[in-house]
Symmetry: D2
Subunit: 147 residues, 4 copies
């Protein structure tokens, strides 16, 4: 049984869970750096393995970075949420340095919740805007192993 | 020829243009109430003609309200922008009173720009989150008739 | 109580239900013309009231046409389905004549189902491609009044 | 200068280009298996590195698989196309075996083209439906190195 824990403790454990158990993100060097109430931030240092044929960051790497921020944000309330639908618009290529994604909850009434994620490069310019919808189940997330 | 005009004057004329020339929005009672730099607000008082078979506001009316805010925001810079792609997530039904949509630019580097629009009811709860991408042409919008 | 009815009878009643009860579609002259298993077709004759400021069909009218096809297709199985998320890409302006939208189910395993809708003009060219996701409830749709 | 080449030759070279130069896809074991006129197929054998914290294939891996099919299809005409906007709906988790994505062009009039991609597992069931919009430039793709 998971004893009662503070929000701060839950955010810490959730971060450990994502950073240890999401193998795609480990493979790609994508990390959750922060989780709050309905918010999360992720980060990726651009490497050669993220590049596409045109020598800019492949859209799939940017999507995965945004998707992890969305996943961490929609699970921040302590109950399980599953991604249903995502949309992404690319406005600037990612070239070098690091990329940061920040997710913010725009709605969470009823079984569905929606998030907007902005992905920025080191100059602070938005390279992609992502929108994600999650379906919220009633199951609690078991974080007992991540204390 | 359109003489040089202030931003405030351009926003006023653009608002008049949309509220007079967008016949779908006139038909549906949707109005632009405010335009700024990369932002816009629209409003619709819910009427019977907006309802679907389940007696809540039809998704198409909510989309049109959000789309007009997007269209006004992406044309706020004075050059023509065309909507390319939109995505909308519904989280709460619209039932009565009025709905308000607010568009905010998240990126505008290069030929593409992206906007997030949140649609809220009178209680301030988000009923839909919309994301739109526009293609920006170099043509100036002719607002000489709307002074 | 609704007695057992054939699929053909259910499709007929569902069509009557949409064409009589969806007031937004009635207001805009959008009609369901056909419903099958996970498919539906809708039609709209372009009128002045559908136009935007650039004198082409407003995106919201095209969205509503596609959305009605999606709504009819995802409710074709006899149990209630609610639209969760939609995405639309515009590729050609709608100018005159009529527009037709055809929805096709791409997935329907578990509580979520997904549909692709193509909107074409009279020349058979695609003017918009729409994707919709629905959440399927267990409730039966009551069609007893539409025989 | 690239001498004139047949469509079949161009499709072969394009496939080689993607499978050698897209480093993200190489890292994830995602391959283009087929390219035609406005169509493409990609494949990925599920491995531990694709998994998320819930032990199913991470959404980002499925997105990347679909996105590569989209990228190959929208570049199949020989001129450069850039992905602008994508939307993905997940309907069934990916668990084991392989996943295949097939892209089909739904519209390609003017500078924008739109594609629908269906991702299926070995049982033939759709696990995700993807929609992508590309902006088509006039530049020819240089495939001289890939003969």
């Amino acid at each position: 049984m998971t004893p009662h824990m503070s929000d701060a403790e839950r955010f810490q454990r959730l971060k450990r869970f994502f950073n240890n158990r999401d193998r795609l993100c480990k493979c790609l060097g994508i990390e959750v750096t922060d989780i709050g109430h309905g918010t999360a931030t992720t980060r990726m240092v651009i490497e050669d393995k993220h590049m596409n044929g045109a020598d800019v960051v492949q859209g799939g790497a940017i999507f995965t970075l945004a998707d992890l921020a969305f996943g961490a944000a929609c699970n921040s309330h302590g109950t399980l949420a599953l991604g249903v639908n995502m949309s992404i618009a690319y406005t600037k290529p990612g070239v070098s340095g690091s990329l940061t994604a920040h997710a913010r909850e725009t709605a969470a009434a009823g079984p569905l919740s929606t998030y907007v994620v902005e992905v920025k490069d080191d100059s602070g310019e938005t390279i992609a805007t992502f929108q994600g919808t999650a379906y919220r189940k009633r199951d609690k997330i078991d974080l007992s192993a991540w204390g």
